[in-house]
């Protein structure tokens, strides 16, 4: 039986206007993401991998609706089978759709992090829920009173999780949640994402860590230059990647240091 995907991205194109010509007067739209198509089912982790600049983050920002206003967007995004227009998105963000941003610069620099977590929680239980969240992400209670610049990168990652993930969440867009984490913390984040998916949420995990992606995701979409070149089953990333359908995916897999690296980089 065909189920409706939780999220379905159809022919998404994101472009930026640049000015060229001698006087900089000629506008030219440079597409950063082009004709992108993706589906995410409930309970599934879809990893999107690709090099820096391949448009992964733009994909995440387009879904959550926080692209800079210099961007031009076309194509459609369906959530739960109906189009996700801006009014609906505004209702769903922070309730059903959660977002974990890429950079640790995303908390408000002038607000103690505990307050930032409490902002989006139901007011009556905010303090209690925030304490529970901090405990869940192994954050000391005194961290709540500190400002972002006083925390380490790893702690900020966990703060971002505590801020982004809500109880009522059904779709999680996690944009590079792992850099800067030590192996134990990384393992924890990954298994946490897996738990969230196993509880029924759809997870879009954007990463350039192919090993992590292959380990926890159900499917892996490979992006290059703003396009999805292939979507592979994560179980194909094994051995020398013989079952991978696309050449580019195979090359990425083989280029990893722990595989036969020397063969992989040869053209």
């Amino acid at each position: 039986m065909m189920t409706t995907p939780l999220l379905s991205v159809r022919n998404l194109t994101v472009g930026f206007t640049h000015y060229t010509g001698t006087l900089g007067l000629r506008p030219r739209v440079v597409p950063a993401v082009e004709g992108l198509e993706l589906d995410i089912d409930p309970g599934e982790i879809l990893a999107v991998i690709g090099a820096s600049g391949s448009g992964k983050s733009l994909l995440a920002h387009a879904i959550v609706g926080i692209l800079p206003n210099t961007a031009t967007v076309s194509g459609g995004i369906d959530y739960d089978g109906t189009p996700l227009d801006s009014a609906r998105l505004r209702r769903l963000r922070g309730r059903e759709i959660s977002f974990i941003p890429q950079s640790v610069n995303y908390p408000d620099p002038l607000m103690p992090v505990g307050r930032q977590v409490r902002l989006t929680l139901p007011r009556s239980r905010a303090a209690q829920l925030q304490q529970a969240l901090f405990a869940r992400y192994h954050l000391d209670e005194k961290v709540a009173r500190q400002y972002p610049h006083e925390l380490s990168g790893g702690m900020l990652r966990r703060v971002l999780f505590a801020t982004g993930v809500t109880e009522t969440m059904r779709l999680l867009i996690a944009d590079e949640p792992t850099p800067g984490l030590h192996p134990a913390a990384l393992q924890e984040v990954l298994s946490h994402l897996r738990d969230l998916a196993d509880d029924g949420a759809g997870v879009l995990l954007i990463t350039h860590d192919l090993i992590a992606a292959a380990a926890i995701a159900d499917r892996v979409a490979v992006m290059r230059s703003g396009r999805v070149v292939t979507v592979e089953s994560s179980s194909s990333f094994t051995g020398r990647g013989e079952t991978l359908r696309h050449e580019y995916a195979r090359r990425l897999w083989r280029a990893l240091p722990r595989h036969d690296f020397w063969e992989g980089v040869a053209p």
Partner: protein, 353 residues
Amino acid sequence: MSGALDSRSVTEAPGRVPAAVPTRGPRRGRGLARVICVRVARLVGLLFGVSLLAFTLVYHSPVDPIAAYIGAEASPTDEQLAQLREYWGLDRSFAEQYLAWLGAVLGGDLGVSRLYQAPVLDVIADRFMMSLALMGVARLVSGVLGYALGVIAAMNRHRLLDRLICWYSYTLASTPTFWLAILLLTLFAVVLGWFPVGLAGPVGVPGSEVTMAERFHHFVLPAATLSALGVATIAMHTRERMLDVLDSDYVAFARARGEHGRRLFRNHGLRNSIVPALALQFAYFSELFGGSILAEQVFSYPGLGSTLVDAGLGGDVPMLLGIVLLSSTFVFVGNLIADILTVLIDPRTRDSL
């Protein structure tokens, strides 16, 4: 390309205590004192530079201070002229004259105004208080209104309201201050007759007998002129700052968590824009002072403006130098306050003190 697919970086050792433990407590006060000391020392250095620059400029003026002092009617003898030159020290070298003047200034003596026949300090202290009242009220009004308009414009980016506010600001920023003053004067004082045409009090009434209501009456139009212009500057700067805030990562994240509209502003916009807006109030003392001179001139308001014009046109050197020093001090102190506010309120810099 595959180079970007790096292996995991390990930057945080397990269980490590965060490096940036806030250093609050007694150390902060001392740090702030140090910052203020450094800034004040810089301010004194700059004022010294201003004094040297100003003195050099007036020293080289072709306007003969004695001729300017005596006026065209009188015809003094050569002996009298020589006496005057000696009395004012004009026969000495530049360095001697400068040092003598500087010494006197440091001792609190700015000399005697040739036009007002009174100590410069007394004249400008009096006048400056009048100007300060005008500028203070204008700054307060334009600060509050300008901030509000700037925020409204930014929150409604590219919509009608934003366009209207932008057009108002652009137009007022391009308006000659004295012309706006004249227009207000024509409309409200001449045509409608709501306000008197000039002076801080009614003509012919001794200063001590001028009532508060009368003072206010003569105060409104110049203050309104300065406020209207100030609103334009503050609104544009606030708008730019708010747009930066709205385009920031933390606002994007807040939006992604479902915050929007007024709540977004209350939680993040206000917090991140109020300090720069406050600092701006003090950083633009230079513009404010210039505007005040022009508005005062149009409304015959007895502040520093007319004193400066009289001193400049009448060749009253001690007065001119006094006003230059005073107005620069005013601007530098404004900048100092702006700097300290910025450092003090931002937790990132505050804790490093």
